[in-house]
């Protein structure tokens, strides 16, 4: 530092140092803060999937990151992208503007990216403990995945000769190609998960035996017991439960069906059976009979739509009273019903008769809990999936497996990284979004390119790096690094424009002054 006298005399006044020295952050009265309000898609997601976050990564073609976010809630996106009914898409705010984001397609894209790039781990994992998973359905596989990730030695017991549970034996292959399931199983195996196929609880082993060999047990044996058709003549030949029919088909057995095929039931299993009959048995006359109306059908409407389009006849408000005949055709006597408000009332009219070559009933399934009776003493184990909830969806089973894995890992120390549940509070609604900045100039149709399609995501409460905060900051206090944005509190004067203009309503303003450093 020169003393006063030695300083060169300035001719004129001139500033040459960037104003960065002026930390305007201390002018701030309010501070823009990430509020983390949930998006409707995330709130609807059965897996708590961080949908806007991984869509944002896809938008930036940061696939590794997309997979890292995805696997926190869902390790099998290639599967769920095909079999989940995607309530996320139904709630997507963008549907009110042009078309919902094609979330399943994005999910599949991440899943396929992952499968294509999978390499087995170079070094064996640190082993923390041994866990037995009984049942290789989505709940079991998910639990095994997370535990294996967290460093546990996992052995899966499966009663069938193939792994996958419902994924292998229940869901039709046109919805889930079996090669894909095989890929996922291959990855799990390569990752170190062990499978013991043809090992049925109660048939090939009992629980007591496992307590010696394993530290923890997870039971996910599903709900495989079909509810019976309790009407006279239900035991006549040519009558099948949907699950029995589908399982046999998926095990490669031949099931002799005859036209016309009558399917009784309104759930997904009924629709699966009907559409499988068209495909696997070459049937052309297939009907679904349901005791309520179409609107009350629990099956995925898209599936019902697809079945109808394929020629499946849908008959509503009828209920079977008796099955007669069988020489050669069965005669199904049907009562008419009225339904609504949850109730079904049988009309007193005379029954209608309907001919059936084969009859498939899908009246729901129940778990088989008989193994409990065979325990010699009270035992501690974890259980999840359909075994606990009764028949539910693949994503719900995956979530159950994830939660179980977290609990088990917590007990054994060393938790896998899993998604946090969505933030509390009402999801961001369509009206709250600042669409003017995003939509201009025109609504956009769905795009084939995943990055472009993900780019249509409005973010709804989640930062999707649209950059509006950066663009509109008068103080150049929003920083951009590798496509991501953050607020530099050294300079943010707290004007609040970023929060006001954020299209996704990510930012809120909170009291509090002062700069960061």
């Amino acid at each position: 530092m020169l003393n006063r006298a030695d300083r060169p005399k300035a001719l004129y006044s001139c500033g040459d140092r960037p104003s960065l020295d002026n930390k305007t952050g201390d002018w701030r009265q309010i501070t823009p803060t990430e509020a983390g309000r949930p998006s409707p898609c995330r709130q609807a997601c059965l897996l708590d999937g961080e949908i806007p976050a991984w869509l944002e990564a896809v938008k930036g073609e940061r696939w590794e990151e997309a997979w890292r976010i995805m696997r926190r809630s869902n390790p099998f996106p290639a599967i769920t992208g095909r079999v989940c009914f995607h309530p996320c898409t139904m709630e997507c705010n963008r549907r009110l503007m042009d078309q919902a984001i094609d979330i399943p397609a994005m999910e599949r894209a991440i899943g396929m990216w992952r499968l294509e790039r999978y390499r087995p781990p170079a070094a064996p994992r640190v082993l923390r403990g041994r866990v037995a998973v009984i049942g290789s359905g989505p709940a079991g596989l998910s639990c095994a995945y997370y535990l294996n990730e967290a460093g546990y030695r996992v052995t899966i017991f499966e009663k069938a000769p193939v792994a996958g549970g419902m994924l292998a034996l229940g869901i039709p292959s046109y919805r889930l190609p079996r090669e894909l399931l095989a890929e996922e199983l291959k990855v799990l195996t390569a990752d170190g998960v062990q499978f013991r196929l043809d090992s049925a609880l109660g048939r090939d082993f009992n629980l007591e035996q496992l307590y010696g060999e394993f530290d923890q047990l997870f039971l996910a044996t599903g709900a495989w017991r079909s509810r019976a058709l309790n009407i006279p003549g239900a035991d006549r030949p040519g009558t099948w439960s949907a699950l029995d029919y589908l399982t046999r088909i998926h095990l490669g057995e031949t099931v002799p069906l005859a036209e016309p095929v009558v399917v009784i039931g309104g759930g997904n299993a009924a629709v699966d059976a009907a559409r499988t009959a068209l495909r696997e048995n070459g049937m052309r006359r297939v009907s679904i009979l349901y005791r309520r109306s179409r609107a009350e059908m629990p099956a995925d409407p898209a599936e019902v739509e697809a079945a109808a389009a394929e020629g499946v006849e849908l008959i509503f408000n009828v209920i079977p009273r008796e099955i007669k005949g069988g020489e050669p055709l069965l005669k199904v006597l049907l009562d008419r019903t009225v339904s609504g408000d949850g109730g079904v009332k049988i009309l007193p009219d005379d029954p209608v008769s309907m001919a059936a070559g084969s009859l498939i009933y899908a009246l729901g399934q129940e778990p088989d809990l008989s193994f409990l009776d065979r325990l010699s003493q009270p035992r501690f184990f974890y259980a999840g999936g359909d075994l606990i909830t009764g028949p539910a969806t693949v994503p719900e089973a995956i979530k159950a497996g994830r939660i179980a894995a977290q609990a088990i890992a917590g007990r054994l120390a060393g938790r896998p990284e899993t998604a946090a549940p969505p933030a509390q509070g009402a999801p961001v609604t369509f009206d709250q979004l600042n669409l003017w900045a995003v939509t201009a100039p025109q609504p956009v149709e769905r795009q084939a390119d995943p990055a472009e399609e993900a780019g249509r995501c409005l973010g709804c409460g989640t930062c999707n790096s649209c950059g509006i905060c950066y663009l509109f900051c008068p103080d150049v206090a929003v920083q951009r690094e590798q496509g991501r944005y953050s607020i530099n509190l050294d300079y943010c004067k707290g004007c609040g424009i970023c929060a006001r203009e954020c299209p996704a309503r990510v930012l809120t303003l909170e009291g509090g002054a002062g700069y960061a450093s």
Binding site: S19, G467, Y470, P474, V476, C495, G496, I497, R500
Partner: protein, 295 residues
């Protein structure tokens, strides 16, 4: 999506500048300097930017800034341009920043002179519709009906706002345009276009002043957007003082009241005043539609 090309530009405005929170004038200059590039000289006449640019030893822009007295902007701009030409720096762009006072009022003579001589630089009026640097006094850019500290309650600004673009394009200048901060793409596009044109270019940028207008600092963009959507401040350009085209046409013309009622400076306007303002806006908008061949 607006701001799509934001990845390729260099920010010329440094954080730490001296503008109030939510300043429209700061945004205006941030955008226009991004569009004009680094080989730039900025001339600033007495206005809010005399403060925003920083107190030495600091400077808020990544290029030379030359401050000049209030009425002199147009003449100094021409002098700088010619000085650059004398020194062989023909590629350097000169942009003059003036507020509405330095453009509509005290600077109009020099502005007109420079325009008439077709001086080769870009004159920017960042219009916050009053003398804001001195604390909100009436200028001839203050719209009818607005209150200022020299037209306090129960008074209001009586005269109409000058139609500065008409005045300027009547000089036959090669390029005249309006822009505002809620439409940065439009703004930057106009500056990029202006940069490629030789001669006098005039760009009138509506730059909201939150404390002066009586809006929250967070509402700068919103109010700027409303000004366009109500057709109070249409976005257009005029080439060679003749051919006029709208660069943005609101899908629906919103009621002017929406724009006015959002600002405290218009509080207490009577029904008739409101009507007069709406009529003025409608008439002006119809005229623009006619001129642009869109009516």
């Amino acid at each position: 999506m607006i701001g799509e090309n934001k990845g390729q530009v260099t920010e010329m405005l440094y954080p730490g500048h001296f503008a109030c929170p939510g300043c429209g004038a700061a945004l205006t200059v941030r955008y226009l300097t991004r569009a004009l590039g680094e080989d730039l000289v900025v001339v600033i006449t007495a206005s809010c930017w005399s403060i925003i640019a920083g107190v030495p030893p600091l400077t808020a822009l990544k290029c030379p800034i030359l401050h000049c007295p209030f009425p002199s902007a147009g003449a100094v701009g021409g002098g700088v341009r010619r000085g650059l030409d004398v020194k062989g720096a023909h590629g350097t762009t000169v942009v003059v920043l003036a507020g509405d006072g330095g453009t509509f009022d005290i600077g109009l003579q020099a502005l007109s002179g420079a325009a008439q001589r077709n001086e080769n630089f870009i004159f920017v009026c960042y219009d916050n519709e009053a003398y804001m640097n001195t604390g909100m006094q009436t200028s001839s850019a203050t719209p009818y009906g607005a209150r200022t500290n020299t037209a306090p309650y129960p008074l209001f600004k009586e005269g109409r706002k000058k139609d500065i673009i008409q005045i300027m394009s009547a000089h036959g200048i090669p390029y005249a345009a309006t822009a505002t901060v809620a439409f940065p793409d439009d703004l930057e596009q106009k500056f990029r276009k202006a940069k490629e044109i030789e001669g006098f270019r005039f760009i009138h940028v509506l730059s909201p002043c939150p404390p002066g207008w009586g809006v929250e600092s967070a509402e700068t963009i919103q109010i700027s957007r409303l000004a366009v959507e109500t057709c109070f401040f249409p976005l257009y350009e005029i080439i060679d003082g003749g051919s006029m085209q709208l660069t943005y046409r609101p899908p629906v013309q919103k009621k002017l009241e929406q724009y006015l009622s959002a600002q405290r400076r218009y509080s207490g306007l009577h029904e008739q005043q409101l009507e007069k303002l709406q009529q003025d806006v409608d008439r002006h908008w119809e005229k623009l539609l006619r001129l642009s061949g869109r009516s």
